[in-house]
């Protein structure tokens, strides 16, 4: 093992003061994605059609809306962590890196907010089927 104090090693933090949490959450959200996306693909395949009415009626059930809300959180969290590493590996110029990371955060926050609000609106009956 590397240098550092015993306490530092116990905390698992290197000089960046971060890292294990990023790695761990990537794995936790991966497991969440695996379960929720299998559920999602099977659920869509079981719908007889994928038109507007079918999707709205499907999402009115709490047993569809709640897993889909959790899926949005898990998937967007996971892809934010993944694209962050992608940017850090390939964008070497400091200004461009910060710009890309800001753009990534904006994309994730806006897209996830749209998804969550849309699911809730349909689930609470805000969209006539």
């Amino acid at each position: 093992m590397g240098r550092g104090t015993s306490l530092g090693r116990v905390r698992g933090l290197g000089s960046a003061h971060a890292g294990p949490h990023h790695w761990w959450m990537q794995r936790v959200t991966a497991a969440g994605n695996l379960l929720l996306l299998i559920w999602f693909v099977v659920s869509l395949a079981r719908l007889p059609v994928l038109d507007h009415q079918a999707v709205v009626l499907w999402l009115k059930s709490p047993l569809a809306a709640v897993p889909l809300l959790l899926l949005v959180i898990s998937v967007f969290w996971h892809l934010r962590l993944g694209l962050q590493v992608f940017i850090e590996d390939y964008v070497h110029e400091a200004g461009g890196k910060v710009a890309c990371l800001l753009l990534l955060n904006a994309y994730v926050v806006v897209a996830a907010a749209l998804c969550l609000f849309s699911i809730l609106k349909i689930a609470f009956g805000g969209v006539p089927a």
């Binding site: 994605n33 892809l79 070497h92």
Partner: protein
């Protein structure tokens, strides 16, 4: 970050013989990036359109679900439909490949599967899975339309 282009580089990608493990490793990153951007945008479009109106949903449905290149569209529209279908196939394959190689990564994280033959077999299996799953997925989707 200042870097000196005259510095010697260690042997790089070009001199290695490609193997399934290398291919699956870079595919995991490539498919993940494609899904994060393409898949994320299409998924957001789907939910937002569904929450806006049936008309907004119909636009999504027309371009993504019902992007049938064989239908009687005129030139440019048929081309866009074909491209949309290609994107759909590529993203669905990316999804299954990323899922399979992701599960492989979770196993590798436990310290298992680093023996040369096992590692190679695992890499090949992720590709076999993603191709078979993509074929089954589209058979179900297209079967639904008929």
């Amino acid at each position: 970050m200042a870097h000196n282009p005259a510095r010697p580089l260690s042997p790089h990608l070009s001199i290695w013989k490609w193997g399934p493990h290398m291919l699956v490793s870079i595919l995991h990153r490539a498919t993940g990036t494609a899904l994060a951007i393409g898949g994320g945008l299409i998924f957001t479009w789907w939910l937002t359109a569904a929450a806006i109106s049936p008309a907004a949903y119909a636009i999504f449905y027309h371009w993504i679900v019902d992007a049938d290149p064989s239908s009687a569209h005129e030139g440019a529209q048929a081309l866009v439909g074909l491209l949309a279908r290609l994107v759909g196939v590529a993203l669905s394959w990316s999804f299954f490949q990323h899922m399979a190689s992701g599960v492989r990564h979770l196993m590798l994280d436990t310290g298992a599967g680093y023996e040369l033959k096992v590692n190679r077999l695992g890499a090949i299996l992720t590709i076999v899975f993603s191709i078979v799953a993509t074929l089954v997925f589209w058979a179900v989707i297209l079967g639904k339309g008929n």
